[in-house]
């Protein structure tokens, strides 16, 4: 048994109560949605909050609803399994459905939420270990020491964003709503993340991620998600690629977005893809994109197998682009 540290339990029944409870002592409280990330981390002695605030009873965080314009609003507390199997998500945002459906294991997808997935702690082989192990190592930059074991001279923690859903959400141009006693703000998912492995999101300690909003899919939107991992289940991504392409009636690229996950603290949006515009997504165009991704992405030893991961960026990007699936608005 890995005993949890003691804490005080609060289980608010509404968003209002939740936000107030969190506002009381933001620095000493942690939110627990599915708990599939927080509790293993607490068992490892990575956090010992004075207070844990459960989100389960907050009705406002649940559910998946349509926006008048034809987009979807997913509650921050929606379980990943619901996201993966919701017919509307599957039809309009197939890459998101796929990403959510590839997380961890069936049980964890039923417990884990999309909010928890977006706020997932960054991961690193030197960090996601027991207190005993980290003590034996001597403590790393992210938690208990001055040294980064991944980049020995590094000043900044490079623990990796290892969640599955951020990449497709960024590719779709989704945004999140953060609510606190101080007010409400909305920001694109891409802006939620920061390039620091110690804390890779801009969520303030008193803020709750209440919803994820997906804009209505553009006409002729095609998307895909590819996840690379060692094992076919119960495994975080070693590399993940989300791609979204809007084509015109003639099959020419209007907009192409490729997002790579599991590299560093930040999901990386591949730059320079304007070159594909106004031309068909041909074999050659795909190779160009794959090459761009390859040069821009440098996997680190924070998740291991870095040389191989670098080697396969291009083929996995090609695979994603070859497997683009259409968004179906009706359905």
């Amino acid at each position: 048994m890995l005993p949890l540290p003691a804490f005080e339990w609060v289980s608010p029944g509404s968003l209002d109560e939740l936000v107030r409870a969190l506002g009381e002592s933001p620095g000493e409280s942690l939110l627990l949605a599915g708990g599939t990330d927080l509790l293993p981390n607490m068992k490892h002695g990575l956090f010992a909050p004075r207070r844990v605030i459960g989100l389960r009873r907050v009705r406002e965080l649940r559910g998946i609803a349509e926006t008048p314009a034809g987009g979807l609003v997913i509650g921050g507390g929606a379980p990943l399994d619901r996201v993966a199997t919701d017919p509307r998500v599957m039809a309009r945002y197939p890459a998101l459905a796929r990403a959510a459906g590839l997380v961890a294991s069936p049980q964890i997808r039923r417990m884990g939420t999309i909010g928890g997935n977006l706020c997932l702690e960054t991961r690193c082989v030197y960090y996601n270990q027991t207190a005993f192990w980290r003590g034996a190592l001597g403590g790393c930059l992210k938690k208990d020491g001055p040294t980064c074991f991944v980049v020995p001279q590094g000043r900044r923690c490079v623990a990796a964003m290892s969640a599955d859903t951020p990449a497709p959400l960024i590719a779709y141009g989704a945004s999140v709503e953060l609510v606190s006693v101080r007010g409400t703000r909305t920001l694109p998912v891409a802006k939620l993340f920061a390039g620091d492995g110690v804390k890779n999101n801009v969520r303030a300690a008193d803020e709750v991620l209440t919803k994820v909003e997906l804009p209505p899919p553009a006409e002729r939107l095609f998307s895909a998600y590819e996840k690379v991992r060692s094992r076919a289940a119960i495994d975080f991504p070693l590399l993940s690629i989300a791609a979204a392409a809007v084509l015109d009636a003639g099959g020419h690229v209007v907009e192409l977005t490729v997002v790579v996950g599991a590299l560093g603290a930040l999901p990386r949006v591949v730059r320079g893809l304007e070159i594909t515009r106004a031309a068909p997504l041909s074999r050659e165009a795909i190779d160009l994109v794959a090459e761009a991704a390859h040069t821009q992405c440098n996997p680190l030893s924070s998740l291991g197998a870095e040389d191989w991961r670098k080697d396969i960026v291009a083929p996995v990007v090609r695979r994603a682009l070859a497997g683009l699936a259409p968004s179906r608005i009706a359905g």
């Binding site: 048994m1 890995l2 005993p3 949890l4 540290p5 003691a6 804490f7 005080e8 339990w9 289980s11 627990l32 708990g35 599939t36 509790l39 293993p40 068992k43 490892h44 002695g45 010992a48 004075r50 844990v52 459960g54 389960r56 961890a104 294991s105 069936p106 049980q107 964890i108 039923r110 417990m111 207190a131 005993f132 980290r134 003590g135 076919a232 289940a233 119960i234």
Partner: protein, 171 residues
């Protein structure tokens, strides 16, 4: 290296939940997991602990009908909800079809993964459709087994599915 507990925060939290059909009232410290509650407080030792942090599936139980990992579920978060464990599968003397199938196919060796495996399987079989072998593999993919190589477990769950479909009068 283990973080010090905050003194004074170990007040007991009263809970009311339904475990295998029985109403249960208990008071636990907030840091108690559902698995500890079941195994150590309620004596329901059928659910197993293989890793205690979400990696193996041995602790799988149904919470409000859905398979979850009891080792990373707080007991306090199960307040007001229904829990089913392997102990609930047999009704009186009658084994659940998937239990019988596991026995008849030799699908339990050491048996340590079996309770969790059965709960994942039950959830799958409770669905309306008769699952394919691929569906069974998917449904059991969060439950590690170290003994069987899965072949006989998959066979057993498929056999149970067929039998249950027949009992329902076809699909």
């Amino acid at each position: 290296m283990t973080p010090e507990p905050h003194p004074g925060s170990t007040a007991l939290v009263p809970l009311a939940l339904v475990v295998n059909g029985d109403a249960v009232r208990v008071a636990v410290p907030a840091e108690r997991t559902l698995l500890e509650l079941l195994r150590y407080d309620l004596g329901l030792t059928g659910s197993k602990q293989g890793c205690d942090k979400g990696d193996c599936g041995a602790c799988t139980v149904l919470l409000d009908g859905e398979p979850v990992l009891a080792c990373i579920t707080l007991a306090v978060d199960a307040d007001g909800r229904g829990v089913e464990t392997v102990e609930s599968l047999a009704k009186g003397q009658k084994l659940h079809p998937v239990q019988t199938a596991v026995v008849n196919h030799g699908a339990a060796q050491c048996g340590f993964c079996t309770p969790g495996m059965l709960m994942s399987a039950k959830h799958l079989l409770d669905g309306s459709r008769t699952p394919t072998r691929e569906d069974v593999k998917q449904a059991l993919s969060g439950n590690l087994c170290r003994c069987t190589g899965y072949t006989k477990i998959l066979d057993a769950v498929e056999a149970a599915a067929r039998e249950m479909a027949e009992a329902r009068g076809g699909d």
